[in-house]
Symmetry: C3
Subunit: 341 residues, 3 copies
């Protein structure tokens, strides 16, 4: 792929500054990694270092500083960068065939233009919609329903009866519909008997699930991930969780069973929750937050136990004052003792 | 499946109130999800909301409130719910055949009534007991011994020489017997040389291991999980850990190497421990606890570093008093300054 | 394997005390697990309990206490133990054949003395160096380059275009080159559009990656793990992370995207970081540390937010003094009130 600056400015619908007609751009890369034939971008706070980049041309916003090298000005440099990635590296083309090395049950229904790669297993009565791509070693259990234009990377497991919408992406090794962690304990013997997890998992349209993430099936009914919600690697969702639309769940988050989460909620990394709580819409949780109670909509929480972020910051600041406080109280005690005499 | 209220009351050995002879129950579901042809249950604290459920019939304990709809009273509503799940959804029937698409080494010993599904690998000298079910893409290494009536879901790895008891359930993607994290570091060069992990993992009877959980093999000897212990998703057990019987280990718990844990211990989510410690019987650890020392039997610990739960609660309460304390000390300083004058 | 004490002392280049010519050693094991025909070792603080071990012979350092049983004295007992593990249990011998049950694309280049086991998938234009071992169910994507003498255990995924050095060990279920977690959010609709992850992952020589660990591919350029770095189970490395040489990353660590880490850095279990920061050489982070800013070289940090370990210890000590402080201030208030009267 070779592009002139003018071609790139046109592609991005941007304004070109300091044109260099001889420059041929051959790739796109980050601020630090880019070389003289690469295009890169910057947004605050990195924009102040962008003069240090070796990129041949930068994508910047109109209000960003002037540079003495080629710049393409656009409204949203981050979106332009995403478009450049698509331009310079076409998505890997996958041949749409059903490999003779895959196992596809006779009763499975496979749509048009589907790829099923070697050693994938599609079980009885499973359905796969048009334009979906199934990589090697994927397991699709009995009666699973899969929508159109899905992509499942290697080693994915989808257990029986789960329902997957359209345009769902499952990264490698994730497990959809594993048995929930439900037991009844005999108080005398301490023995835990497993409760049959008779429900399923429903992933709505445009959901993405990260590598080795686990979403447990419901005890009865469905564990649900709402449309457009994106989940990172190594996340755990317990049985009967219901997540809303367009949430972001970052790596290592653990959500216990029977938690209901609204729309547009963001969980930063390593957050954990107790079970059986309700979290409203538009909430944001800082990294490592431990959520122990219901949370109202539009909350920004942090800490363990979770509290409003401002309170948490204040408490952290107070914490750093204890040393000082100890000294002050010692002085006071001495002064008061003198006064008493 | 269709059941009358009387049939259900008999099945649960319970007492029927407000019988409706016309009502045909066709499913079982949670309090919120259940509809007019479903049976559901409630236990405290949810029992106070059970009049809001749309379930056609509720299972409650004798002491729970009266309802103006059908109720079946039983001693243990949770156990009754588990029994209803088994009644309304029979466990998936798996055909007991060895797929010609599986790889089974000539020297492997396979018991009676065993299922081995497509693309499973059973290596040399491995043994699989009667009535066990091996899903697709499971790897059973050389010399592995597996008991009777086990179920291994897709993508499970069991490395060489491990020993698995009877009625063990391994959820998808878990790794039993991966190499432990053991290195010897050359102090001059900083280079880490790996220590051969020559031992194995032993899972005793009725152990259950969650999706994508990792249990490392011992350096020498065995990493052991005691009979009846249940482990959730994405848990890490280090090399040479020894867990007792009937423990519960919730998602994202990480137990470092050479830790010994007694019987009936519960680790809530995201707990972590240092290595080379001993934890007694009947302990409970709250979520996110960081265990840095030996813990005596019958402890209820929380916080990081871990301490008795009551102490942790008190410290958390004290923390919230610092703001107040700062104000009080300021007032005192002013008053004492005046007094000094 | 049967060895006399003299043979073992010679093998370890150590000095033999309390020789027992009749003793035949048949195995090597830990201090607690070893029996009368086993050799074991101890280092501080365990060395003080080594008289309680049932091991037939102990490996100790010259300065360790005398025992009334056979002892082999060496400079580094831990290194001697590693050598004994290699002696008593040879590494599993893997037959170097390409299984007819594997899928190897016609355009893949396979070196000499390579094993590719059943149901492994080697995609188009992938390269595998001499002496490498690929276990069952491993997926090697298009254009992946793999060096010499690598070992990839079952269920490993290596996505397209990744580059793996020599002598790299990938434990079961790890995912190299999964798509990074990158989205552009439409502020009006809340919809997240995925940013094509066009880069790859580079693992340098002698890297080891733990079971079910996930290392995401870069958005552009490469996510890099430096030579000799060892990563434990269930770790998450985000897109565009660059780790130095000879680091140790313990289980459940989560490193957000675009983090640069120096050489010889140790992350203890369950550490988390924000993205876009730089961590210097030779740093050590205690368990559960939350790293929220750049960290200079040679730091020993702990706590959340991360701070120097000494500060963290002091703050933890101060915390425990709040109860006392509350009492003192109450006494002061009473005394001052009296004085005011």
């Amino acid at each position: 792929m070779e592009k002139t600056l003018r071609e790139l400015a046109e592609y991005l619908q941007g304004t070109l500054e300091n044109e260099d007609q001889k420059l041929i751009v051959t790739g796109v890369n980050g601020l630090v990694e880019a070389g003289p034939q690469d295009i890169s971008f910057a947004v605050p706070p990195h924009v102040e270092h962008c003069h240090l980049s070796k990129a041949g041309v930068m994508v910047l916003a109109p209000e960003d500083p002037k540079l003495d090298r080629p710049v393409i000005r656009v409204k949203d440099p981050r979106a332009a960068f995403a478009a450049l990635l698509e331009l310079f590296r076409a998505r890997e083309d996958v041949e749409r065939v059903i490999s003779p090395l895959a196992f596809v049950a006779a009763s499975a229904k496979i749509g048009k233009n589907v790829a099923i790669q070697p050693f994938a297993v599609i079980e009885e009565d499973a359905e796969i919609g048009d334009d979906s791509v199934i990589y090697p070693h994927v397991y699709v259990g009995k009666h699973v329903k899969i929508g159109k234009a899905c992509t499942f990377y290697p080693q994915v497991t989808i257990r029986e009866n789960c329902v997957i919408g359209n345009s769902v992406v499952l990264q490698s090794g994730c497990v959809i519909g594993g048995d929930g962690f439900g037991y009844i304990t005999d108080k005398k013997t301490g023995r835990h008997s497993s409760v049959l997890q008779a429900g399923n998992v429903v992933l709505e349209d445009e959901v993405e699930i990260g590598n080795n993430t686990c979403i447990d099936r419901a005890t009865a009914g469905s564990t649900i991930v709402g449309a457009g919600t994106k989940i990172d690697n190594l996340v755990h969702l317990g049985h009967n969780d219901v997540l809303g639309k367009n949430c972001l769940v970052v790596a290592h988050v653990g959500i216990s069973g029977s938690v209901t989460v609204g729309d547009n909620v963001t969980f930063a990394g390593q957050v954990g929750t107790v079970g059986h709580i309700t979290i409203g819409d538009n909430c944001v949780f800082g990294g490592k937050t431990g959520i122990t109670n219901n949370v109202p909509s539009n909350s920004f929480y942090a800490g363990f136990p979770a509290r409003p972020h401002k309170e948490w910051l204040k408490q952290e600041a107070n914490l750093r004052k204890i040393g000082d406080l100890l000294k002050k109280v010692k002085v006071l005690e001495e002064t008061v003792a003198k006064l008493e005499k």
